[in-house]
Amino acid sequence: MRFEGNLLITRPVERVWEFLWDIEKMSRCIPGCQGVKTLVERVKYELSVKDNVGPITVQFAMLADVKKMEPFKRLEISLEGKDFKAGGVRQTMVLALIPKGNQTEIDFETNVNVFGRLGTLGYPFVKKKAEAVIQEFGEKVKSAIEANS
């Protein structure tokens, strides 16, 4: 499943970039995220995620891997999580920061891959959820950044 979109944030690129690395605040924007562990600063993180997809509850230990970064410009992350009951999710996310005066546009493109049982009969659930999650994430990021400063 591919999703793309963009957010306009009324803060300059520097502030946005800075926020993205404020793992504590950032993680609070991820729906269902219960906590983050930093494994390697700015490279590897472990998130624990628990969320409901309708009647289905999934709980992942998610490994976040920073694949590429160009400071203040671009960020590529891959996320992988497995729930032994339901299956797993693998996601790649590309964020591009585009300065608009002293505002910032974040263009994001993400590809979500589900497998195991989630990938078969759970698919219609996950697909709908994924769209909602990504939307919620975007909104939270926007309000979080614009709030603190």
Binding site: F84, R90, N113, L121, Y123, K127
Partner: protein
């Protein structure tokens, strides 16, 4: 729901009668045993773990956690089984992925447990580390240089056909030529080139692939029950796969819950064996329907480029067809030596064309491996070719019927399949005229949103071999022993009707028994509409042998010469003294008393495709809701060129069933793919026709001369489906003026086409400048 004008069997007593299917009583009372109904003592379940990636290297598999699960009896990965590739012809598919997965749904590990849920649970506990590789899903991309190569070791595979060219990811390239197609295009007044695409569709037999296997502890003989219509080929493939001599494998032919071409591959059998070997228990593996839709062997999606040159007057001068089959990750599912699709040879349609060129490419992609489905290849090609015929007719401002009549095949016209001598008894013109008549084609009054479409197709019966053993018991019951499964076509009933006919006995006096693969050496098995043609002939030969044997016995018993014995109404009568006669039972009793029971056997092989084709024409009438794009099929008129009809009920059943499958193919069925993942994974998401979709069907049968099959009959099983989709596509165009060149014809596609329609573009075929080709 239909009127049906089939004539009575010509003066036959059993043949031609609407005899109910002989296994029917078992089926309506729930007693017919399908593979999954074989419940063996101590039998356990096998369940597989499948790849979530379309293309990846397997870095590491850790099944320790799964093995520790209570109730788990075995967990196998590639390292636990022989490194053997399997396939019906081309052997390119591992039983479990070894170092690499090539499609989403490929088997990576298998678990055995007493309880199905425990086995399923355990598969989820196997940890596999993958390193994803670039994947390719579109055959046109896959054939380009630099596209990910799926099988670097292709050349080393057993059963690889001779390739007419060497193209990236192409594992079968078939080609046919008549005349000089390039010259033909140069000689044409108009040259049209159009590209059509078709979707993956699943056979959707309601019985998912099922395998049951048990190893006899004393003898080591492997007993197999499997939803498979080619038992001998399967026995051999299984033997090759598991390294057990074929002589030690017995396949018990079970009832099959629908085939349509999809039930010929090994599927889970080898894994059943390895699990049975590990656990000492009988093992069953039954695919869930999600697994069927993810990893069955569906109909090939395709990209088909049709280029046609015509004279001003509409005469076809040249036709070139290039078909690119999305074969998926493996060629293993295709049964014919060319590892291609048999319909390809009919790509240029039922037309008289002096210059023809066909190229048919089977291409590897990172998607589900495709196999055969009712009239494989022809269904896709008929959609392309017959759609373009209407597009050409539109450009030339002629009636599509007239364009087809003008170019219709005649006796002796060279064709790619029949060669320069062409065919005999060609009924092309007749089926066209008949369908035009029954549908009142010329008299149709067009109303807004309503339209009609015409399509034509033809095919031949398949060749192959078969065995039959015929015996008569002391009770006078004539028993036929065969090892061909009846996949639902009614073939078994027809065979009994033939025997009753020839021995002049009531149908009730004939019994049919389906044996195991121990009965005979080898035979092709069900497919290509061959059963009546090939097995029927074997049965006829057996009957002749039996008659001779009975005559000799009767002659001896009556003390006359064999020439004096006549067979009348199942009795052996002395021609001289008609008062002296014997019943079959008396003769059989005497024979078995003397220790030489009445039993004969015959083997028949058909090596030559008969010169008779089977022609089919169809007119579809649709109404289209121009606001939603919804198509309503108002009526289908279909005409079939037939000879003797052996069983009218069974015959009509093949037509009705073939046609509604064609309707699903045209309008609703699609295995929707996202990056190689099938996302329509249940029968709610994958939409085969429901009883509510049933529309009035008019069938007309045009009688040809002799057919090549017994009692001068012709095949019907596969000839009813191909013309449906193009007829509907042409009808939609006639109704609302939009040309859908990409199946299925969904409401949304029509809606978009209507909205985006550009008034200048009248949706006629794209004309390219003649000469420049």
């Amino acid at each position: 729901m239909q009127t049906n004008k089939h004539a009575k069997g010509r003066g036959f007593s059993s043949v031609g009668k609407p005899a109910p299917r002989i296994e029917g009583t078992r089926k309506v009372s729930g007693k017919a045993l399908y593979t999954a109904d074989t419940l063996l003592p101590d039998m356990i379940w096998g369940k597989v773990l499948r790849s979530p990636y379309p293309h990846a290297r397997i870095v590491r598999i850790d099944s320790s956690r799964a093995k520790l699960q209570p109730g788990v009896m075995a967990v196998l990965t590639a390292s636990d089984i022989p490194n053997v590739l399997t396939g019906r012809r081309l052997q390119d598919m591992p039983m479990l992925a070894r170092d690499r997965v090539r499609f989403i749904g490929e088997k990576v590990a298998v678990v055995a447990a007493q309880d199905r849920d425990v086995a399923e649970e355990a598969t989820q506990m196997i940890e596999v580390e993958y390193q994803e590789l670039p994947a390719v899903f579109d055959p046109l991309v896959a054939i380009t240089e630099g596209a990910p190569q799926l099988h670097a070791e292709l050349k080393s595979y057993k059963g690889l056909p001779k390739l007419a060219s060497s193209i990236n990811n192409v594992y079968s390239h078939d080609q046919w030529r008549i005349g000089d197609v390039e010259q033909g295009f140069r000689d044409s007044d108009h040259v049209f080139e159009d590209t059509f695409t078709t979707q993956h569709v699943h056979q959707s037999y309601l019985e998912p692939h099922s395998s049951v296997l048990s190893i006899d502890k004393e003898t080591g003989v492997v007993h197999v029950w499997v939803s498979n219509k080619a038992p001998y080929q399967t026995k051999q493939s299984l033997s090759d796969a598991i390294g057990v001599p074929a002589a030690k494998i017995v396949i018990h032919v079970s009832a099959i819950g629908g085939d349509f071409g999809g039930k010929g591959a090994l599927m889970d059998l080898p894994l059943c064996y390895f699990l049975a070997q590990r656990t000492g228990r009988p093992v069953r593996m039954i695919m869930t329907y999600s697994e069927e839709l993810m990893a069955g062997n569906p109909r090939h999606a395709s990209v088909i480029v049709v280029k046609t040159g015509v004279k001003r007057d509409g005469a076809l001068v040249a036709r070139q067809v290039r078909a690119f089959w999305n074969g998926g990750a493996y060629g293993a599912m295709k049964p014919i030596p060319s590892v291609n699709l048999p319909g390809a040879v009919k790509a240029t349609g039922a037309y008289r064309i002096p210059n023809v060129r066909i190229d048919s490419y089977a291409v590897y992609t990172n998607s589900v491996p495709c196999g055969h489905f009712r009239s494989p290849g022809l269904v896709q090609l008929a959609f392309a070719g017959e759609s373009q015929m209407d597009m050409i007719a539109k450009s030339l401002h002629v009636d599509p019927l007239d364009l087809r009549l003008q170019n219709a095949l005649r006796d002796g016209d060279p064709t790619p399949s029949e060669g320069k001598n062409g065919m005999v008894d060609v009924k092309c013109r007749e089926v066209l005229e008949s369908v035009a008549d029954s549908a009142n084609w010329k008299g149709f009054k067009k109303s807004p949103g309503v339209g009609r479409g015409l399509a034509l197709s033809y095919r031949n019966v398949g060749i192959g071999d078969a065995n039959a053993r015929l015996s008569v018991g002391p009770d006078g019951i004539v028993s036929l022993l065969i090892t061909y499964a009846d996949t639902g076509t009614g073939a078994h009933t027809i065979l009994c009707q033939m025997i009753a006919e020839l021995l002049e006995i009531p149908l009730g006096q004939v019994k049919l028994e389906v044996g195991t693969t121990d009965c005979f050496r080898f035979e092709a098995g069900t497919g290509a509409s061959r059963v009546t043609f090939v097995l029927g002939q074997a049965v006829l030969n057996a009957v002749d042998k039996l008659k001779a044997l009975i005559r000799d016995w009767a002659a001896a018993m009556l003390g006359v010469s064999a020439q004096e014995i006549a067979l009348e109404k199942g009795r052996l009568v002395s021609k001289r003294q008609r008062s002296r006669s014997l019943s079959l039972a008396q003769v059989a009793a005497a024979a078995s008393a003397s220790g030489e029971p009445l039993e004969v056997e015959s083997y028949h092989e058909a090596t030559e495709t008969p010169a008779e084709g089977v022609f089919t024409a169809c007119v579809a009438e649709v109404s289209v809701d121009t606001e939603t794009g919804q198509v309503h099929l108002r009526e289908l008129n279909t005409v079939h060129d037939v000879a003797t009809i052996l069983n009218p009920v069974g015959h009509q059943g093949q037509i009705d069933g073939g046609i509604i499958q064609g309707v699903g193919y045209a309008l609703t069925e699609e295995m929707v793919m996202e990056d190689g993942r099938v996302v329509t994974l249940n029968l709610g998401e994958y939409k085969i026709p429901n009883i509510k979709d049933l529309s009035p069907l008019q069938t007309t049968l045009v009688r040809g001369n002799a057919g090549a099959a017994p009692f001068q009959s012709k095949e019907i099983g596969e000839s009813a489906i191909s013309q449906v989709a193009p007829a509907i596509a042409n009808a939609v165009y006639d109704a609302v003026g939009v040309r859908i060149m990409d199946l299925p014809i969904t409401a949304e596609k029509i809606f978009r086409a209507l909205r985006d329609r550009n008034p200048e573009d009248d949706a006629s075929s794209r004309e390219v400048v003649p000469g420049i080709v």
